[in-house]
């Protein structure tokens, strides 16, 4: 009772302080069914926290596929142009020199550096884009205040329905979550 009371209080007064309601499961299956149900129930702003990637969980949560691939492709092309351009410019335009009697634009000798520049730019774009879009590095995240959240990186699975969801109502969400046999459901302040 007291729990629901505080929930009401929170819903009434401290609504903006609430980040969301988090259910802790001890198996992937439970998490997956809960996720399915949540999407059918119309919840959109939600996320799951698991110790390892769970195949298909992102679709279950109705997430868009990432655009990372295209960004990396663009970076790769940029790297190739930059790599070759640098060599061509340095040898043909900026400071033409007679080296071993070879033509200024001896392009076969520029291929390797061009290739390496391609890989360098695309690889770092992939890594940094991933970190950036995931908001990393990050000093703090409300979800960390979830009870027993440490287990999220070990062997427990968490589903969070966030307060910013249009259809969010603490009581309804709690009852909804309780339905799927979580270890516990807890409110997480933002």
């Amino acid at each position: 009772m007291s729990a629901s009371a505080t929930a009401h209080a929170g819903a009434a007064g401290a609504e903006p302080d609430l980040y969301g309601l988090v259910a802790e499961f001890d198996s992937v299956e439970a998490l997956e069914t809960a996720a399915d149900a949540a999407r059918e129930a119309g919840y959109r702003s939600m996320d799951a926290y698991t110790p390892y990637p769970v195949e298909g969980l992102d679709e279950k949560l109705g997430m868009e596929p990432t655009r990372l691939g295209w960004v990396v492709l663009a970076a790769g092309i940029a790297g190739a142009l930059l790599g070759f351009g640098m060599q061509w410019y340095a040898n043909v335009v900026f400071y033409p020199l007679n080296i071993g009697g070879q033509p200024l634009n001896s392009w076969p000798q520029f291929i390797i550096i061009t290739f390496e520049m391609t890989v360098l730019l695309s690889a770092f774009t992939a890594g940094l884009y991933m970190l950036g879009r995931n908001g990393l590095p990050r000093y703090h995240h409300p979800i960390f205040s979830t009870p027993n959240f440490a287990a999220a990186s070990r062997d427990r699975f968490f589903l969070c329905i966030e307060a910013r969801d249009a259809r969010f109502d603490p009581t309804a969400v709690r009852t909804f979550l309780e339905k799927h046999g979580p270890v516990r459901v807890s409110e997480v302040a933002s």
Binding site: L97, G100, G101, Q109
Partner: protein, 997 residues
């Protein structure tokens, strides 16, 4: 400190003397102080380095380095009023008034080598001599130089030269020496020992001395003096004569162990003259023929068309055989086994076909009998007056130096000598061991030694006087043909030396006479008319006009059948010869010469017992084993080096090594061959040899030399005969053994200005090494020391590769100067990650030292391996510099550790010419740019110039059918190419192996 009556003052006492004085008088006062012997001795002992400039030239400003070293000197230099030099020296091309900073001046002078002049032009940068070139106006050099005279620039600055007059090690002054030598009585107990004297001034001074002191004895000793030649001429002609061969007039030359291009007076002139008759560009060019009999491979042997390796007795035997066949009443000598009839027949035919245009020469160190017999043969061939001319003797007193020394030592041991004055030379080291000169010196009350170094003799002598370097003093000296040169100094005595002239003047009681005045006095006597005009012209040209020795005609050779020739009969003989680099040992402390790879063996930093493969087998030794050599009752252990081309049964050991008191560079290097030198067998001695325990590592710069096998298939050295050339005049197979097509994916860079290139004529290259030292001097190439040479890190920019063709027992020799080939498609350039080596607009492959990070990839990718790398700090940097670094050429960077370097085609000389031509708004003329190696080369084997100038010599030579590029199949398009090696064997004899190798 000395402990005699005249105690050397302390700095304290000098200060006390100075404290009294004030103001200007203070300086005057210090001058006075400084001028006393006492002060000088004090300086010499407390600050040896500073003593020198103090002694010689208080006011010289040339060497900032030497000023400001002590309170006294700093004061003096700061306040001295600049004074004009005492005596005027005359620049070769420009007068000092026109001196432009950065542009060197050239002064004509000469080096005396074995008493004979080699005319030089010394290059001086703001009063600092850095390089010598040959004097084109001098008959003995004709523009060329020897490796040794190039290297003497380094000796000039050698910090280990003696720097103060000393008596028993304690510093003394000139006046004190004068005092010590003031009482000579009637000269009865006085002896003067000189080296070979050709100098008119020395001769005059000695003559005057003898007038003043009738009893005075004059002896000469030079360990390399050609006693045999002097006595041989006497035997043959009954009087003293100087015999001059003329190789430019000879079609056929028979050399009886005469290394005439490398040893003896006039060698440079002879090399030039001989090569002039050997220059082949096309099938139409005539070529002389050289028959060579030699006991050990010598540079001249490289040129031989027919070479016979004979032991010394065999050489005499050949002479006898030839004489007999030519109908000369000759003494008998056993005919050498190696001499085949066919060979002798062909030789005799050749000589007889060329009566009057043939030439027989006997070696510098051949015995008198062989020389006399040689004169007889030339007489019989009608060569006298044609290819051989006779002249009044050039030496002041031609004699056997060995006899002269023997007499002197006898007198010394007999206690007849009270005062012995040695004006140069190092007899304690160089005298035959059995004479024991050192012991004899102890029997003399006062011995005075004049020398560049306080050497073995200087240590033993009571008095030692530092001698002037030949670039430091006025003198005069005569060339092989008698032409006199008035040698002028380039610089005041750097370490305060005295010249022999001044020492003799002191002996004559005139201690203040200057060499300048003495030399002038000599010539004033001889010149009537405007003396000053004569003086200026003579000094300026570097050769006194018409001073050649007058020729003596109408002489014929008397009967020589009575001579006794060496009969041989020893199965093993020792042959003692001066080292090709160090001479009799006087240059032992010269690093350039120590590290100069000896011809053929390419040994550095050592002498070794050189012997043939067969002899080595007989003695059961390998390279670097040790041999215990016993000759004339003395024993010496020397390392072994197997030298193809040595006559069997001959062991050659070079003199000049194993010095005790040579200095840090030369002391203890190699073994002292003089220990085996006996006065009755000074050159050839019966030998007993046995393998000794242990091994000695020898630092040879070239390990693989045989052309056989893979060497042959690489087509590096391409050689053939005149016959081969005439058979295929347009496209000789031996020049282009394999078809080569230069396909290329890229179109070539255009060089529309100058395009520098070089051609090397292998036919006339004698491997004399002059180019190597010249390059070292011009380009500040550092030496690395024996240990580094052993690792394989020698730094020479140009090396002379030696290859042997034919068999190990009877090889042909090939010399291939190898420096950066300046490939137009240089493999070294694209692989440098920082672009430190690249092409300039005239096609030079340039090396940017300060951009080089030292990956050494360029060296790996250089097919010619002509790049050298500063693995350690070899060059002297300002931080660790000694006076030695003053020999550096200011126009060339001194390289630091960790950078690659290589031949630059003397780019600094090209720039100088380019600027000159630019100022005069004209093109650079052919021959205006002369590389250091080209300038030094006595046989003009190296030609450099602009390939875009159709008329240039180099362009013409490149059009020769003999022209080829080494490793042309790599399509590196080298700017340096070679003219295939051509020999001219006698048609009657089986031709030597031809084809490419």
């Amino acid at each position: 400190m000395s402990d005699d009556a005249n105690p050397t003052p302390t700095l304290q006492s000098i200060r006390e003397r100075l404290d009294g004085t004030k103001g200007r008088t203070f300086w005057k006062g210090l001058d006075e102080v400084a001028d006393t012997d006492a002060f000088r001795s004090f300086m010499a002992e407390e600050f040896p380095r500073q003593a020198a400039p103090l002694e010689s030239s208080l006011h010289r400003r040339d060497f900032l380095k030497l000023l400001g070293a002590s309170l006294a000197l700093a004061g003096l230099s700061a306040c001295a009023r600049p004074e004009a030099p005492h005596d005027k020296i005359v620049p070769y091309v420009e007068t000092p008034e026109q001196m432009v900073p950065g542009r060197p001046l050239f002064f004509a002078t000469a080096i005396s080598d074995g008493g004979y002049a080699e005319g030089l032009l010394a290059e001086s940068h703001q009063g600092r001599p850095t390089k010598v070139e040959g004097n084109p106006d001098h008959p003995a050099s004709q523009g060329a130089t020897s490796a040794v005279s190039q290297a003497t620039v380094l000796t000039l600055y050698d910090p280990e030269r003696s720097q103060a007059i000393s008596e028993g090690g304690a510093a003394r002054g000139w006046d004190q020496l004068a005092a010590a030598l003031s009482d000579l009585g009637d000269g009865e107990r006085v002896a003067v020992l000189t080296e070979t004297v050709t100098s008119p001034t020395l001769a005059r001074q000695i003559a005057e001395l003898k007038d003043a002191y009738p009893g005075l004895r004059w002896h000469q000793y030079d360990p390399t003096h050609a006693d045999g030649a002097v006595l041989g001429a006497r035997e043959a002609f009954g009087r003293d004569l100087t015999v001059v061969p003329h190789f430019d007039r000879a079609d056929v030359v028979l050399s009886l162990d005469a290394d005439f291009v490398q040893t003896g007076p006039g060698r440079l002139a002879h090399a030039k003259a001989f090569a002039a008759r050997r220059r082949v560009r096309s099938a139409d060019d005539a070529m002389n023929r050289l028959w060579m009999a030699e006991s050990a491979p010598a540079n001249t042997g490289t040129l031989a068309d027919h070479r016979l390796a004979l032991d010394p007795a065999g050489v005499a035997g050949l002479a006898a055989a030839v004489a007999e066949r030519l109908g000369v009443a000759a003494p008998s000598a056993p005919r050498p086994a190696a001499l085949e009839d066919a060979w002798l027949d062909a030789l005799i035919d050749d000589l007889q076909e060329h009566r009057g245009s043939s030439l027989v020469v006997a070696g510098h160190d051949q015995p008198a009998a062989v020389h006399a017999l040689t004169h007889a043969i030339n007489d019989a061939l009608g060569n006298l007056g044609e290819t051989v001319t006779l002249h009044e003797p050039v030496e002041a007193r031609p004699e056997s130096h060995l006899d002269s020394l023997r007499d002197l030592v006898a007198a010394m041991n007999g206690g007849e000598i009270g005062t012995l004055v040695i004006t140069g030379g190092n007899p304690v080291y160089t005298a035959p061991a059995d004479l024991d000169f050192a012991a004899a010196m102890d029997r003399v009350d006062t011995t005075v030694h004049l020398g560049l170094y306080r050497d073995e003799t200087g240590m033993r002598a009571d008095w030692h006087v530092p001698e002037t370097h030949h670039l430091e003093s006025w003198s005069d000296v005569r060339a092989f043909d008698g032409t006199a040169t008035i040698a002028q100094p380039l610089i005041r005595p750097f370490y305060g030396g005295r010249s022999p002239h001044e020492l003799l003047a002191l002996l004559a009681g005139d201690p203040d006479a200057s060499a300048h005045d003495l030399v002038r006095a000599t010539w004033r006597e001889r010149i009537d008319g405007d003396f000053e005009a004569f003086w200026r012209r003579a000094v300026h040209r570097g050769a006194v006009p018409d001073s050649a020795a007058p020729s003596v005609d109408g002489l014929s050779v008397s009967d020589v059948s009575g001579l006794n020739l060496p009969q041989g009969g020893n199965d093993l003989v020792l042959l003692l010869r001066p080292d090709p680099s160090l001479g009799d040992g006087r240059w032992a402390n010269n690093g350039w010469l120590q590290e100069l790879p000896k011809p053929f063996s390419k040994l550095t930093w050592d002498n070794a017992a050189l012997l043939s493969a067969r002899t080595a087998e007989r003695l059961n030794v390998r390279n670097e084993d040790r041999l215990e050599l016993t000759a004339s009752g003395r024993t010496l252990t020397a390392p072994v080096w197997i030298q193809p081309g040595m006559a069997d049964g001959v062991v050659l050991l070079h003199l000049g090594f194993g010095r005790d008191a040579a200095g840090r560079v030369g002391a203890g290097v190699g073994v002292n061959a003089y220990r085996l030198r006996a006065s009755d067998a000074p050159i050839v001695a019966p030998l007993a040899a046995a393998k000794a325990s242990g091994r000695t590592r020898l630092a040879s710069t070239q390990l693989h030399q045989a052309l056989a096998g893979t060497g042959e298939r690489r087509h590096i050295v391409r050689h053939g005969t005149v016959a081969d050339l005439q058979a295929e005049p347009d496209h000789p197979t031996f020049v282009h053994p394999v078809a080569h097509h230069d396909y290329d994916l890229y179109e070539n860079f255009a060089y529309d200005g100058s395009a520098w290139g070089m051609v090397v004529d292998m036919t006339v290259c004698t491997g004399c090494n002059a180019c190597v030292t010249a390059c070292q001097s011009e380009n500040n190439v550092p030496i690395v020391g024996k240990d580094q040479v052993l690792v394989g890190r020698e730094m020479h920019w140009i090396r002379v590769d030696a290859y042997y063709g034919g068999s190990v027992d009877d090889p042909d020799f090939y010399q291939m100067p190898m420096a950066c080939q300046h490939c137009e498609k240089a493999p070294c350039e694209p692989v440098c990650p920082v672009g430190a080596t690249l092409h300039d607009h005239e096609g030079l492959n340039v090396m940017v030292y300060n951009r080089c990070v030292g990956t050494r990839y360029c060296s790996n990718n250089c097919p010619y391996k002509v790049r050298t790398f500063n693995y350690l700090q070899y060059a002297e940097l300002s931080s660790n510099a000694t006076e030695q670094s003053l020999a550096a050429n200011p126009d060339v960077t001194v390289r630091s550790r960790g950078v690659m370097e290589k031949c630059t085609y003397c780019t600094q000389r090209i720039s100088r010419a380019r600027i000159q031509a630019g100022n005069e708004d004209r093109k650079i003329r052919d021959g205006e740019v002369v590389t250091a190696c080209q300038a030094a080369c006595p046989t003009d084997a190296i030609v450099f110039g602009d390939l875009n100038d159709e008329e240039s010599r180099v362009a013409q030579d490149k059009r020769s059918v003999l022209n080829y590029a080494v490793l042309e199949e790599l399509n590196t398009v080298p700017r340096t190419t070679y003219l295939a090696h051509v020999r001219n064997p006698h048609p009657a004899l089986a031709e030597r192996g031809t084809g490419a190798a």
